[in-house]
Amino acid sequence: MRSILTLPDYRLRQQARKVDVFGDALQSLVDEMVELMLEGAGGVGIAAPQLGMLQRVVVIDCSLSQRPCRNHGRIVMVNPEIIESFGNVLGREGCLSVPEWVATVPRAKKIKVHYQDIQGKHHVLESSAFEARVIQHEIDHLDGILFIDRVLSVRDIVRRM
């Protein structure tokens, strides 16, 4: 069983590769990701690079959110890509890979994301509010980006006004 990598592990900063083989290995990676996501209290999403697997796979499940929110339940997204985004909202984010750190991060309010499921079938999903934030956060992991790269202080907010 792998464990969740934490900063400053260099693998969190690497670009993940596109998945083009859909099979048992992918399934067992996803199973492991789900298990680790459920292990951490309040975890609502996880990305393969957090396990040191540099593949473009994320799992989200906002039905696990401590505060109830609109959501599509558990979704496995392979090769996800945000194709449209609207609006801008602030929220507090933390990350299993950056323990003990929570900060204010701006994200698109609403997104349209294209992804493949675990069989390789193509889907387009529209998501908004907290779930959209989670998807953006997890996709960032695939590009080696952590939420701490996007933090806004009140001073930054004033500067942008």
């Binding site: 209290a41 299993l96 929570v102 934030r133 907010i157």
Partner: protein, 177 residues
Amino acid sequence: MQYVLLSISGKDRAGIVCDVAEALLNIRANIEDSSMTALRGRFTMMLIVNLAESCPLSELKAALAALEQRTGLSVQSQLLPEDDVKHMPQEPDCVITVTGADKPGIVHAVTHVLGEAGISIVDVSTQSRGTEQGYMYMMALEVVAKDDVAALGQKFTDISNQLDIEIQVHELESGIL
């Protein structure tokens, strides 16, 4: 463990943080939490430092006096009670932004509403900025509103009209992702 709060400011120039850090390193004091920023032409710093066991308060005072002498910075220090150091601010659940033509009383009006409601401010920043239409005032606050979040916008209606300022309340959803 002895903790000291340092408030330092001086005319802005390159090298201020380094000068202060060096003075603290010389007495093996550790900088824990800090807030350092340029306000107009002044560089301002607030630091909580942890004194080494081997360093008496008098040695810190002497080092700070020498720093003031050498650099022209203004330095104040205050011994902190352990309680203040161990206490962590609550997580903000709301960001409030304020904009309008600059006039006296904006900060007071906004924070009065918060104070009355018992809402705690975690962080705040303001800026008065010259534009073609005169000075604009910008303010952003991170607050712990708890159950008041939904009703917070309503609470600002009166002062928003009186002062002709725009006040937006952004509720922060939060989670470990």
